[in-house]
Each structure stands twice: as structure tokens, then as C-alpha cells.
Amino acid sequence: MDWQYFWELFFGGLTRGSIYALIALGYTMVYGIIELINFAHGEVYMLGAFTALIVAGALGIYGFPALAILIIAAVVAVIYCAAYGLTLEKIAYKPLRDAQRLSPLISAIGMSIFLQNYVILAQTSDFMPFPNLVPQPEFLEPIAHIMGASEVLIIVTSAVAMAALTLFIKYTRMGKAMRATAQNRKMAMLLGIDADKVISLTFVIGSSLAAVGGVLIASHVGQVNFAIGFIAGIKAFTAAVLGGIGSIPGAMLGGLVLGWCESFATGYISSDYEDALAFALLVLILIFRPSGILGKAKTQKV
């Protein structure tokens, strides 16, 4: 067995999986609180990548150093994605809070189509090159043959982001309010929790995480276009379902499992059906274990 190849695939899968996990968190948090598949979440991730691209391009022209560009671009992308997430919720989901179950989903699909075309019209429908901003420091030389600096950055950043999120949910007042709202929205409201605020906050956090994912993947892959959100969104959703939708550690685990599955399948079997693998996995989980790895099976209430 070729161990170097194995480790390459392993870390490739870990990198991919971290990104999926970052996006999946947005799906799972929103689903946990309002039971909605935020179909436009992948588009928020794409918007993050695009915003970062534009900021990086502008700063590059003004001659900023690479690392500064990366940090500023990431911060701006996070701010903008949070704003987009908030606006999205206000326009497309909030008026539908009491509507039939299918209405918000259709509205979300509409929003997703709208945002894609907004980017096409405002910028371009071509692939845009993303500048390589991650420096290759010397202390990473020994592992350079299996993973590059940008992969290390992705893994470390996502780990930090997920740890911060876990701490936030667990120990802060707002995090407690989020958990309470997810458990039972009506009861939480009776206890004086502003549910609208919690829902908005959920969208803001989810979108920010997606933005982090967008910036990281853009600097890793090196190109961005308007369509990257759709496929990434579906895969992240698969990850969320795989881990058990509504469960935050589940989304992280699901992302990693999906990343490894894809990486090993493309590395050892064939890369033709790379995208179909995620779909097939999704269909299989939903049929055989809809509650996912960490989710609890819910009994149907009549």
C-alpha cells in the first residue's frame, strides 16, 4: 500500500470535509431552530467567496501585503455574508413563518436563483482567478509533500471556528437562548426569549461560517464563479443530514465523513462520479437512517 498517497487523500478529505462542515453548520443551526432547509445557504457561501475576491483584487491593486489582504478580505466577507444572511431571512423567510411547509422551501429556491443571477449581472458568469494569498512558511516544509499551507490553514481555521461556536452555544446567554428556542420555540418565547432575535442571530452565525468557508476554499482552489454555491450547498446539506440534522457536532462529523468518502472514492476508484457520490450517499441516508449518525430518531406526533 502506498502510504504517502493514502495520507495525501486523507488530508485532502480532511480539508474538504472541514469546508463542508463549516457550511453544514449553517444548515443544521437554521434547521434546528425553524425546521427550514435554507436552500440559499450555498449562495451565501458563494457571495462570501466573491466578496473576498473583489476586496482582495482591490487591495492587491493598492499594493497591500498578501497576508494583510487575506485577513482583510476574510473579515469583509464575513461581515457582508452576515448582512446577506440577515436580509435573506427578513425578506424570504420571516413573512412565511406561519405559512405551509412547502412555501419557505420554494421561496428559498427562488432566492437561490435570484442570488446567482445577481452575481452574474453585477459581476460576471466566468470563472474568476483568486490570488494565492497564503504564504508557505518554513516550519511546514516537512509535511509539504502531503499537504500545502492553504490546507493547513483550512483545517486550523475551521477547527478554531467550530470550537468557538461550540463554546458560544454552550456557555453564553445567547447560546442558551438558541438551544432553548431549538427545543421549543413557543415555550422559549413564554420565558421571555426574543425568538425573532435568536433566529436572526442563527442566520448571522451560519452565514459568517459559510463566508469563512468561502474565503478558505477560494484561496485554496484559486478560482470562483457564480455556480460554486449550488453544489457546495448540496454537499454541505448532505453532510448535515449525514451527521443528523439539527445537531451541531453531527454537522462537523458529517462534513468530515463526507470529505473522506469523496476523497478516497475519487482517489482509489474513479473521479467521474465525484458529485454523484454525495447525492447517492444523501439518498441512502435519508432512506435508511434519516436521523443521521448523531441525530435522535423522532417519533411522529399526530
Partner: protein, 415 residues
Amino acid sequence: MQGLKKSILVSLWFMFLTFPLMVIRIDSLNGTIDWRWENMLGMGAGSFVLSFVWRFMMARKEAGRAAAAGGVMSARGAWFERLRSDPKAAVPALAVILAVFLVLPWLVSTYQTNIMISALLYVMLGLGLNIVVGLSGQLVLGYVAFYAVGAYSYAILNSNFGLGFWSVLPIGGAMAALFGILLGFPVLRLRGDYLAIVTLGFGEIIRLVLENWSDFSQGPSGIANIDRPGLFGTQLSVSDATTYIYYLILAAVIVTIVAVTRLKNSRIGRAWQALREDEIACQAMGIDITTTKLTAFALGACWAGFAGVIFAAKTTFINPASFTFLESAMVLAMVVLGGMGSVIGVSVGALVLILLPEYLRAFSEYRMLIFGATMVLMMVFRPQGLVSPGRTKYNVPDAEGAGAAAARPAAGGNA
């Protein structure tokens, strides 16, 4: 005054929100930035006006809801209701519409006829999806997969075995129905949004298989030189063939409309609607959910299959790029825009969504943008669509009639 302040804030917010994407454009070759401030002004002004419209619509929606709760029915759409329910008005109206469609190819150019053909194809797809989404309430997002199955059935059978259009038409429909059942079986337990995502995955898998399995489907380059439908062995010129296909698809649409209307009021159609309203209550009423769902999937898919065969025959060339998720979303948009469950609504929705962008060429690049926005706005302000489906009402005139009406469902339950 309050409203003015709100609108100013909204417009400032949107100017901030759209700033990087709308204003900055990087020219990386020359290393310059193109600042497009005029876009920001437009955005600010646009969102300022739109926020007023939004609030006005919201207020109206609230007022409408309050009125409905108070038992006051609005008089709006009364003429339309009359047109639909009164045969004296409905028959001439239908006759006029039919006559217009019949003479259309003789009045307009071949190009226009072609546009009409694709519009009618979408009517057919919309009506098929309406069975699944509108009548039985199962949100299917991979509908275009069945369309692809139909189209590829014809393309492959025609190019490999030389089978003609008429013999493949039923095969294509049957193949699509088979795929509908194949998809239907595993997803029987899923509902709502999970079902939507699984069917989306199914649709994408079909497309990816068509793209990658080159020996079977010739991959992304597609299948060319598919035969046009024959007319008793005569060779038709291109414009005559277009007219011929136009009448063919028109006939198919009429058959579809009749079939769907009849289905809607049939036993199975009522079972679908019961399923849509409440799955558990429906089951409690003794309706076999498995059969009901599977027939909805099979029949819905079957129509997509027919439409696919006609599509392949019309364009004589197909490739997987014609069967993306966007296509499914577009058909869904038609059903949603027209009114889920309403046959007239879906037909009108499809015609509007296909023909309007064709004739508003100036807006053609905004087409998908408007599509998306329409879907969101329809859900927010008019979730029942342009034409809300009429409900069949049973009037019970006297005690005897009531007894007979009560006896009927009981007898049905035993059957």
C-alpha cells in the same frame, strides 16, 4: 413620516449590502478598478421605492387576512369565477382560445411557431408536475430527470434501432413512469423538504450518469440527428415539420388538460388531494398511501416522459445540459406562479413564464433574476398562485340527498 424614515434606512442598507458586488469591478489585466457609482445610486433609489411597495403589499396582505378571518369574501376575481363555473360563459371562451391556438401557425413565422412549441412543451411539463406537486402535495425537485428519460429513450432507440416517433412515444412515457415508481418506492416514507432534496439528488444523479456514461448516452456531446416525427411516410420540409409538431404538441396538451382535469375529480384524484391536505388523516380514511403516492409519481413522470420524447423529436439533438436542476426549478416556478393544483393556472403560468421573456427581449438577461424574485414574492404575497384552484363543492339539497351522499363514501370505503 415614519415610513419615509424606514425607507431611507432600507435604501441605505441595500446600498451598503450591494456595494462590493455592484460598484467595484476589478480589471485584473490592466490592474485598475472600475468604480460604478451609478449602480449604487440606482440601487438606493430602487430599494427606496420598493420598500414602500413592500410595506403597502404587506399591509394589504394583512388586511386581506383579517377580512378572510371575519368571513368577508373579496369581490375580486368574481368575473373569473363566473367564467369558470358557468358553462354559458366557459364554453365560448374555451372555443375562442382553441381557435386562436389552431390558426396560430398560419399567422406567424416559423420562428414564432417554434417558440410556441417550447411554450406548449412547458405547459405539458407543468401539468405533469402539477399532478405530483399541486394535487398530491409531494414536492419533487428532480422532475427534469423524467423529462430526460423520455428524451433519451427516443434518442437512443431511434439512433440505435431506428424506431420511429410514434412507437417510442408510449415507450418513453412508460420508461419515465417506471423511473417514477423506482424513485417513488424508496422515498415513500419521506415527506416535505427531505423528499424535495432526495428527488433533487435523484435528478442530478440521472444527469451525471448521462454525462459520464459515454458508451450509453455519448456523454456531454449528446445525441444528434434524431428523426423528426413521420406523417404517414411523407417527407416534410423544415417549416412544414414545425407546423406539424406544433399541432402534435397542441393535441398532446389538450389531451393532457382533459386527462388531468378528469383525474383531478376522479377517485384517485380526490385521494391525492386528501394526501396533500393531511397524510395521517388521509390514511385514517382508509386510503392506501403507498398506491396513491406511487400513482402520483408514475403519472407525473409519465407526462414528463411524453414531453421528453416530443422535445427530442422537435430539437433533433439532445445533450445532458438541457436537463439541469434549473430546468426543474423553472417548471416548479410555473406551477407555483400559476397556482398549485389548478389546471388553468399552471397552463397560464407556463405560457407567461416562457412567452414573456421571449417578447421582452430587452429584459432577457434579467430573465432568471426575475424568475427567482417572482418565486419569492409569490410565496410571500400570493402563495395560492395567480389562479387559486377551485374546490369542488357538493350541494346537498334535502334529507334524501344527504343520505345518499353519506352512503357513497361508506360504500367506497368497503371497496
